[in-house]
């Protein structure tokens, strides 16, 4: 069953074509890796899918609906959530409040609801507090509920980012470089966490990542971009053996390059 479908997606910035005619599909329950050299258009592609940027051409279908150009906060309600490359958090909030705030789409959040403050509103939002606690435990941040997000270590910030991404209860989670800047131990921890998101919660995952070992380890399939174009797609083994991919990463060996 298809969950996400990109059809001939293109994005131009003036004369620069950041994403050029990219099509691929992601199955439900899949962990998909999106790799490519710097400037390949991976983050731009994420921005197009998650509604941060509008595509110049092409369509995005999510769960059978055409969601091209739909704004990010609407896509969250449909079940698509993304995280950001640089630890985007609510730095002045505690860990708990970060996750609680991220359950927003399930809250009774209106101005009038807040003004009246009915018992039903109260019950509903209380239940979300419990859910937030559960998510914090799941990602392994229990005991740190009351620490300020801004003062966490880098590894914990990354975990909190995932917790924040889980709070809206997504069916598709787009992770932008979830292990960037982490040490070996934390990378392993994050990879285990990501795998368990799929295995225990059935969340489909698309991740952009530069850490090849991590990508090869956990992804079912990998899509490779270069200069905004899709140049390869397949299982980790296929990708590792693909001549075009090797070329994209290492360049072509010839005498001129050797001389330079």
């Amino acid at each position: 069953m298809l969950l996400l479908e990109l059809v001939e997606l293109t994005r131009r910035f003036g004369g620069l074509i950041a994403v050029n005619d990219v099509s691929f599909t992601v199955e439900r329950g899949e962990i998909r890796g999106l790799i490519g050299p710097n400037g390949a258009g991976k983050t731009t592609l994420f921005n197009l899918v998650s509604g941060v940027l509008q595509p110049t051409q092409g369509r995005v279908r999510f769960d059978g609906h055409d969601v091209t150009g739909e704004r990010m906060h609407r896509l969250v309600r449909r079940g698509m959530v993304r995280t950001f490359q640089h630890s985007q958090l609510f730095p002045g909030f505690t860990v708990f409040r970060n996750v609680l705030a991220a359950t927003h789409v399930h809250a009774s959040s209106g101005l009038i609801a807040g003004l009246i403050g009915s018992p039903a509103t109260h019950r509903r939002n209380e239940a979300l507090a419990e859910q937030a606690d559960e998510i914090i435990r799941f990602v392994g941040l229990s005991g740190r509920q009351d620490e300020l997000a801004g003062s966490l270590s880098h590894g914990h910030k990354r975990l909190l980012q995932v917790a924040v991404g889980l709070a809206p209860q997504p069916r598709l989670l787009l992770l932008d470089e979830p292990v960037a800047g982490l040490n070996h131990e934390d990378v392993d921890r994050m990879m285990t966490l990501i795998r368990s998101l799929r295995d225990t919660q059935g969340i489909t995952i698309v991740l952009v990542e530069h850490n090849m070992k991590a990508v090869m380890n956990i992804c079912d399939r990998i899509t490779v971009l270069q200069f905004g174009r899709k140049i390869a797609e397949g299982t980790p083994a296929e990708i590792a053996g693909d001549a075009k991919v090797v070329e994209a990463y290492l360049g072509v060996f010839d005498d001129d390059d050797a001389a330079a």
Binding site: H73, P91, G92, G150, V164
Partner: protein, 332 residues
């Protein structure tokens, strides 16, 4: 621990309320009551600006919304012969209606551009009211605005009824905005200040939420404007200026952005300070400026922020993890 603190806080608020209710029984000095009425106007303005300020946005159009509210009351009571009490709610609704399209346009831009657009809105409002002598009175303004009913109670010489009206409006404004700021909606406003991108990524309609806060801000500014017209019986474009909007921002900054008490404390303190220095005559403004300078230098978190810090130090515990300051240097 928290329960005891909360209990103490409730008692303090109840005592303050009782004292405010009893003030006219002991003090009938017209000047004193006049200052109290000024305070009530400033508190309503500060609290209403603070609500949108939570998201990190300062609307310099607040004086403009206040002017629209005042103008609505002036026209309805003087020209159309409405009673003040009917004009009052409409004078709050009117700026809220104007705020909807203005907010939709101005909230597209962020930071300093938002300040400029709202500043322009305030000045354009003033300009329109100043340009058209009919029906807005032009630069002369509108005088002899009828006082609230019954006329025998709300007389020029008796400030007590106006004092109570001001107090009632302050309580209404504070009750609504406090509740909103503590609700989920309020939490969303705080989260937008922390990171609007992340807020949007977890499903918050950021422009929509800001717009609602903007409209609510305008509503209460209009309420203050209506009260102003009813009390002073005279409004003019020279009153609802950009300077006044800045003054309201200063109330919040000096009082402290991070707590609901901040704008209230700031408005009270900075209405009293210039009055206290009235005896210095021509040096009044100088003294006011000096006090502002010192307060920003010595209390960068405002009065309430400094108070919290001091209490935390006395109790040997860290400052409660409330959201960090709005960062005046960053936004103004």
């Amino acid at each position: 621990m928290t329960a005891r603190v909360l209990g103490r806080q409730n008692i303090a608020i109840a005592a303050l309320l009782a004292a405010l209710l009893l003030v006219p029984a002991f003090v009938r000095d017209a000047y004193f009551l006049h200052v109290m009425i000024l305070i009530s106007l400033n508190v309503i303005m500060a609290v209403s600006m603070w609500l949108l300020g939570i998201t990190g946005l300062i609307s310099f159009g607040q004086a403009g919304f206040m002017f629209i509210g005042a103008m609505t009351t002036a026209l309805l009571t003087k020209s159309a012969g409405w009673p003040f009490w009917a004009a009052l709610p409409l004078s709050a609704v009117m700026p809220a209606l104007v705020a909807a399209p203005v907010g939709r346009l101005s909230l597209r831009v962020k930071g300093v551009y938002f300040f400029l657009v709202t500043l322009a809105f305030g000045e354009v409002t003033r300009g329109i009211f100043a340009y058209f002598e009919v029906p807005f009175g032009g630069w002369y303004g509108i005088r002899d605005i009828p006082p609230p009913q019954p006329a025998w109670l709300f007389t020029t010489l008796n400030k007590v009824p106006f004092y109570y009206l001001g107090l009632a409006l302050v309580l209404l404004t504070c009750a609504v905005i406090y509740r909103v700021s503590r609700s989920w909606f309020g939490n969303v406003l705080w989260s937008i200040r922390e990171s609007d991108l992340l807020a949007a990524s977890v499903g918050v309609d950021v422009p929509g939420t800001k717009l609602i806060a903007f409209i609510v801000s305008a509503f209460f500014a209009g309420l203050a404007g209506s009260f102003y017209a009813g009390y002073f019986a005279y409004i003019s474009p020279l009153v609802f200026t950009f300077d006044y909007s800045v003054g309201v921002l200063v109330f919040i900054v000096v009082g402290g952005f991070n707590s609901f008490a901040g704008p209230i404390v700031g408005a009270v303190a900075l209405t009293l300070v210039p009055e206290a220095f009235r005896v210095t005559g021509k040096y009044q403004l100088l003294a006011y400026g000096l006090i502002l300078l010192l307060s920003m230098r010595l209390m960068p978190d405002g009065i309430t922020g400094t108070w919290q810090r001091w209490r935390a130090r006395v109790a040997h515990r860290p400052v409660a993890p409330e959201p960090v300051g709005i960062g005046v240097d960053e936004h103004v």
